[in-house]
């Protein structure tokens, strides 16, 4: 049968960011998918040579427009490791609070976009309505909705008082009620099921061999989550990775849905520990030396494992900053999922890895 090549992206209604896939079709069936990247490269890693290591915090935050806090946290953790510092306990707990709030709003954003990718506009609106509450919490506690800028080398810049802790708890009650209200729709609605169950299956072995990360990997049955490394204050918190075994779009959606509930639980646990510590307390430790040596740090972003490699040379400027983001790891998995699918299922499957292209290209 004659083959047709259909360009998918870089501008496509389902894609929030530009990635191009050349889809080779036989009739309506995808035979091969070839990705092209490079539409939003900004050269942020190279800026490390021009901005000093403290200015880089604000720059690495802009790698991702959704999980900015986690990038800054990973970077600061790396520098702290290089300088031999440990952030105070309160700062580590606060980092958990804000990083989990970021995961929560990122997963709500994704669940909305996922619903949108299958044409379920009403669910999309509902989820984004709930997400706004989380964004308000971010803005009220840190000063900004997304680019929160709370991390500094050695700790955090902002603190939570008792009033704010209570307010976050109250807001989370509403958010949880809202999400649970939609649970039946997301997990059991027949329309959603028909567009997601058994579609874009990534087997357990394939997921591991292709180096998938985050919910894409956990949706295929691997209990691998960087929070198991016990960074920040995760050593004090009760945490189990969320795993699904089906490996299809539904499983990846289900992992993210359950993780959003888990994030709220982690925020509550961290808030409880903050309350136990009493108000006030040290938020930062001062760095006395200049960064020297090599360091590799990892954190779990909403999309998966994010890796930072930092190399210092004893000056204020880092010699190298290398960022590997989860979407980059998930693109090979995506190209393996697409062959054999109907063309109409491509948008849903592409969205199911939660592509963050600005992250990938930095």
């Amino acid at each position: 049968m004659a083959r047709t090549v259909i360009p998918f992206g870089p501008q496509h209604p389902v894609l929030p960011e530009p990635i191009h896939l050349s889809l080779v079709l036989e009739d309506e069936r995808v035979v091969e998918a070839l990705p092209t990247l490079g539409y939003v490269h900004r050269g942020l890693e190279l800026l490390a040579a021009k901005r000093d290591c403290t200015q880089m915090i604000q720059i690495v935050e802009r790698v991702c427009g959704i999980c900015s806090m986690l990038h800054a946290m990973c970077y600061c953790q790396g520098l702290e490791q290089m300088l031999g510092l440990e952030a105070p306990r309160r700062a580590r707990l606060l980092r958990v609070v804000w990083s989990e709030l970021h995961r929560l709003h990122s997963h709500l954003l994704w669940l909305g976009l996922f619903a949108d990718s299958m044409g379920f506009e009403a669910l999309f609106m509902q989820l984004w309505k709930i997400r706004e509450r989380v964004m308000d919490v971010n803005e009220a506690t840190t000063g900004n909705r997304v680019i929160v800028s709370v991390n500094v080398i050695g700790g955090v810049r902002a603190d939570l008082d008792q009033g704010q802790i209570n307010w976050i708890r109250e807001t989370l009650v509403d958010v949880e009620a809202g999400i649970k209200n939609l649970q039946a729709t997301i997990m059991h609605d027949p329309t959603v099921g028909r567009r997601t169950r058994g579609i874009g299956v990534l087997g357990r072995e394939a997921a591991y061999e292709l180096g998938a990360a985050g919910p894409t990997l956990r949706g295929s049955g691997w209990a691998q989550d960087m929070r198991q490394l016990k960074y920040a204050a995760f050593d004090e918190l009760d945490f189990e990775p969320v795993v699904e075994t089906a490996g299809d779009c539904w499983a990846r959606g289900s992992v993210r849905f359950r993780e959003s509930l888990q994030s709220m639980d982690l925020v509550r646990q961290a808030l409880g520990k903050l309350e136990g510590q009493g108000v006030g307390g040290e938020l930062t430790v001062k760095a006395k030396a200049k960064p020297e040596g090599e360091v590799l740090t990892r954190v779990e972003q909403p999309r998966g494992e994010c890796l930072y490699y930092l190399k210092g040379n004893g000056t204020l400027f880092l010699e190298r900053v290398r960022i590997r983001t989860p979407t980059f790891a998930n693109i090979p998995a995506l190209t393996a999922m697409l062959p054999g699918l109907d063309f109409a299922d491509v948008p849903v499957v592409v969205l199911s890895i939660d592509p963050c292209i600005s992250c990938t290209e930095r």
Binding site: Q126, A140, G143, D189
Partner: protein
């Protein structure tokens, strides 16, 4: 079908959105908005310009004319608040609201006389002498 109860509940509940712009929500107290410099307190040390990650600030000290200038390219400012924290005399602050939309790229330049003597490091800067008699001037200059 599973969404039907939510849809029905939405029909009989208040709208989730506000009637913007006739109703605007009050900004949160911590919101980082427009950057303001109280130029009468500025000692033109240049710390803000050195710390700024987006390099939108420039401080020039003209000792011959005993005058200093502080300029902000507000299109480049990302509102991170690093300069506000770094300012040794607390001359910089951030409003909770944002600057209105501008149609042209511009630089805000504030000028004032240099302080009579440099503020001592051990002295809290809030007590620093007001800087000279010159009125602070604000003017917008188109950037190159």
């Amino acid at each position: 079908m599973k969404l039907l109860p939510t849809v029905l509940a939405n029909l009989f509940s208040r709208p989730a959105t506000r009637d913007y712009p006739s109703y605007v929500r009050e900004p949160f107290a911590r919101t980082r908005g427009e950057l303001v410099n109280d130029i009468s307190r500025c000692i033109f040390c240049g710390t803000c310009a050195r710390k700024c990650p987006s390099q939108c600030l420039a401080v020039v000290k003209d000792s011959a004319r005993a005058e200093g200038s502080w300029s902000l390219e507000f299109f480049a400012c990302v509102g991170c608040g690093v300069c506000v924290e770094a300012c040794p005399v607390h001359a910089l602050s951030q409003k909770t609201t944002h600057r209105p939309v501008a149609v042209a790229r511009a630089v805000i330049t504030l000028r004032a006389a240099l302080p009579a003597r440099p503020a001592k490091k051990d002295k809290p800067a809030d007590n620093a002498e007001p800087a000279g008699k010159d009125e602070p001037t604000e003017k917008d200059e188109p950037a190159g």
